[in-house]
Amino acid sequence: MPSLVVLDWNAFLFAAAQEVLETMFFTSVYGISQGSVTGNVLFSTLRFEGYPSGTVTIGISEETVRPMAANFLGLEADEITLNQLEQVCSELANMVCGNVLSRTAADRTFRLTHPQTHQKMVPNGVKTVTFSAIIVNLDIENGVFTSQIDFDSALHDQQEENSKLNAIV
């Protein structure tokens, strides 16, 4: 079994977010952002359970996600409801999570929970996270997209637990 510790999770998260945004939302990704999400931000989080376990969260301002949702749904941006924006963010989180896991551990089985989406006002200059193992901010059309992975425990601990399980089996 390949070691999860040596995997470049930042690179996988970057690639996953880029592929999802460009393929499903027809949104250009320009590269890593030095900025952060601000304004009325929609955060969507889901858990993945397997080896490893943790959560994936994506964040994007309402202003930025509205034209993306229009692309996704085939509607005019100004006719999209808040409920539809939340559904689109949930799908976005779901796809980023599935994509990153398939890049790192396609031979394993994971259980994903349904994404939970909520809004939060983030003033300019305020960090949206205090701690996270993996964070990728991207410059995209109309703004910034943030994604992060938080593992339940340190990867080397999960790997050790998994090795013990394999030894017992």
Binding site: V20, L73, Q87, N99, A105
Partner: protein, 128 residues
């Protein structure tokens, strides 16, 4: 020939996207029916003529795996091809769904052309 399609996904946004992608790709959609989980899908299948089913896996009440299993064991439904559309691209999941009777598997994210090609492939096999 226009095909009747059943889209099964608990996300209305995803159902709208798939419907849109089918049209964008040039796939000949005649009638399009939607269901938000496996239970609704079985009801829709009993009430409508459906040529092909596109289903997600993770859904409340009845998931896509159970839907495929039930369809495969139903004499009237087992001939209807099912294409799984999911973010889950793990080998074990794909293998399980195909063994249960799914005829195709498309992993999200996908290009509109990919979905069209997979649909045409399973429908060609079906009508060969």
């Amino acid at each position: 020939m226009a095909f009747s399609v059943l889209i099964v996904d608990d996300s209305p946004a995803m159902r709208a996207f798939i419907r849109r992608v089918l049209v964008m790709s040039g796939f000949d959609v005649g009638h399009c029916v939607e269901a938000s989980d496996g239970e609704e899908a079985l009801i829709a299948l009993s009430r409508n003529w459906i040529d092909v089913v596109l289903t997600d896996i993770n859904m409340p009440r009845m998931d896509g795996e159970e839907l495929v299993r039930r369809m495969h064991h139903d004499d009237l439904m087992k001939h209807i091809p099912v294409v799984v559309v999911s973010t889950d691209s793990t080998e074990s999941r794909m293998s399980t769904l195909l063994k249960l009777g799914a005829k195709g598997y498309v992993t999200k994210p996908f290009h509109p052309e990919q979905l069209k090609m997979e649909l045409e492939r399973v429908l060609e096999v079906q009508h060969a």
